[in-house]
């Protein structure tokens, strides 16, 4: 599903984001990317989203070499990738329903399909009754569920999460992790960058540890690495 082949990203100021990454994530995987600040987690996420271009090496997502994509093709790559951020990034002047429908509208989904899929996804993330609420009327956990609903409403094969529990208390964070696990069990590949040691230890999924831009540990099933 995702292949990174000798990927190095050096920033224009000379600092190194990631160095010589080789990573293969299979369809249906649930992968934690862990590491301290500055370890290269964010750089890796941005490379996957094609927000950044690798300096050398190549990235293949869903059998498409992303370096070879023209600017016009990038949106179609991104339709394969759902994204969730630490800070939710909801539109404050739109309701929960509209926030989720927005993701479908901007890829020009037919209104009929929007009316069918949005309520279904809201029910899936446990917000079936919150469609008319505005983001500022929701708890942090509910806001993240809304963001999650928006990320998966177009049914992307891959879900990328950048510290999705970073702003949530442990209990709420757990709820989100349960939800991610459910989504993963439905076949979506999940890549999640995180600091949260407890979560990684409890989930017992694949863990890739980054340090100073390099992969220092990659285990199929395990907990948070002390090297991170």
């Amino acid at each position: 599903m995702i292949w990174l082949n000798n990927v190095t990203k050096t920033y224009p100021n000379g600092s190194r984001g990631v160095e010589n990454l080789n990573l293969h994530i299979e369809k249906g995987d649930f992968v934690f990317i862990v590491g301290s600040s500055g370890s290269g987690k964010s750089t890796l996420i941005k490379l996957l989203l094609k927000e950044l271009e690798p300096s050398t090496g190549d990235i293949t997502i869903n059998r498409v070499k992303t370096n070879e994509l023209s600017r016009n093709q990038v949106p179609y790559l991104r339709r394969n990738l759902g994204v969730v951020f630490q800070d939710f990034r909801l539109l404050p002047n739109k309701t929960v329903y509209e926030n989720v429908a927005f993701a479908m509208r901007v890829i020009e989904a037919p209104s009929r399909i929007i009316r069918r899929n949005v309520p279904a996804v809201l029910a899936l993330v446990g917000l079936g009754k919150k469609g008319r609420s505005y983001p500022n009327q929701l708890s942090g956990g509910e806001q993240q569920r809304t963001a999650l609903a928006r990320a998966i409403v177009n049914n992307p094969p891959i879900l990328i999460c950048d510290e999705p529990t970073g702003n949530l208390d442990p209990e709420t964070a757990w709820g989100i992790m349960q939800l991610l696990d459910d989504i993963n069990k439905r076949g979506t590949t999940i890549v999640m960058a995180t600091h949260a040691r407890d979560i990684v230890d409890d989930m017992q999924k694949r863990v890739v540890t980054l340090k100073q831009g390099q992969i220092v540990r990659d285990i199929k099933k395990g907990g948070y690495s002390d090297e991170a």
């Binding site: 600017r71 509208r105 890829i107 020009e108 177009n154």
Partner: protein, 299 residues
């Protein structure tokens, strides 16, 4: 493009304009100024052109004979003039004919000529000379000046040249003013769109993540520019039409002499001006928004 998508673009474009009302109004006023100047220039220039055309059609040289020539002398003079190069036609006009023509030109006001008849007609015997081209007027005039018995020569050369020159100066001046106003309009529109882009930063960011195409993101801003341009063009046109009609009719009623020249009708002017001004207004809006998008919207 789906109808629901077009509806979405229109809605977003309008809401962008509403959120940013002060700049929207400023942009519309700028476009209005530009279109007003353009419309005014077009009205003046096309009328000058029209008048020039009328003058050129009636262009010719009038030659007045001194004293009281005999019919033989008149016939001889006619032959001499006909032989000059570039002269197409020579028409003899007796003082009586001239008086009749004058009365007709003045129409309802012909009573000012009352009391004039064959006995006290102050007008001279004259020839109306038609040339093959206005360009040869100079050489024909020179030849005519050398002929004895000609008292006075009158020609439209200076008037025509004056109008031509005025027309040219006016055209250059209005193009310059339009250019400056056009650039100002585009700059104000650019700023309006920039603010609109900044207002929608978060939205644009999300749109990019979920895979909206660059064009999908750009359209609402282009719509904003188009709306500014359309409104800015339509208002001066709608206001200008009755004003033009009013100005022409007052010119005719305050200066009866002007009846000799024909102004263009409101319909003749606006059937050309309307589409041209609309296209120009929309063009200003589109150029403004597209430049701004390229500069501020990194998609």
């Amino acid at each position: 493009m789906r109808p629901s998508t077009i509806k979405y673009f229109l809605k977003e474009g309008l809401s962008g304009l509403k959120k940013n009302l002060l700049m929207t109004v400023a942009s519309i006023v700028a476009v209005m100024a530009c279109i007003s100047i353009m419309s005014f220039s077009y009205c003046v220039a096309s009328n000058l052109q029209h008048i020039l055309q009328q003058m050129e059609d009636s262009i010719g040289i009038s030659v007045f004979l001194g004293g009281n020539p005999t019919s033989q002398e008149i016939e001889g003079m006619k032959t001499t003039i006909s032989k000059i190069d570039h002269v197409l036609d020579v028409q003899y006009i007796s003082p009586g004919d001239a008086l009749e023509a004058l009365k007709k030109d003045w129409g309802a006001d012909e009573d000012i000529f009352e009391g004039l008849d064959e006995t006290n007609n102050p007008l001279s015997h004259s020839f109306q000379i038609t040339l093959d081209s206005i360009d040869n007027q100079g050489s024909v005039l020179a030849t005519l000046k050398g002929i004895d018995g000609i008292d006075n020569i009158r020609h439209g050369q200076t008037e025509t040249e004056l109008i031509m020159k005025a027309n040219k100066v006016f055209n250059i001046a209005s193009i310059l003013v339009m250019l400056i106003l056009g650039i100002i309009s585009i700059m104000i529109i650019m700023n309006t769109i920039r603010i609109s882009v900044v207002n929608r930063r978060v939205e644009i960011n999300i749109m990019k993540y979920v895979g909206a195409t660059d064009w999908f993101i750009r359209w609402p801003f282009i719509i904003e520019g188009v709306i500014i341009g359309l409104v800015g063009a339509v208002i001066p046109l709608l206001v200008g039409m009755p004003i033009y009609a009013k100005v022409i009719s007052s010119l005719y009623s305050y200066f009866p002499v002007i009846k000799m020249i024909q102004f263009l009708l409101t319909g003749d002017i606006f059937i050309v001006l309307f589409p041209v001004a609309l296209v120009f207004g929309v063009l200003l809006g589109v150029i403004g928004s597209v430049t701004s998008i390229r500069k501020h919207l990194q998609v």
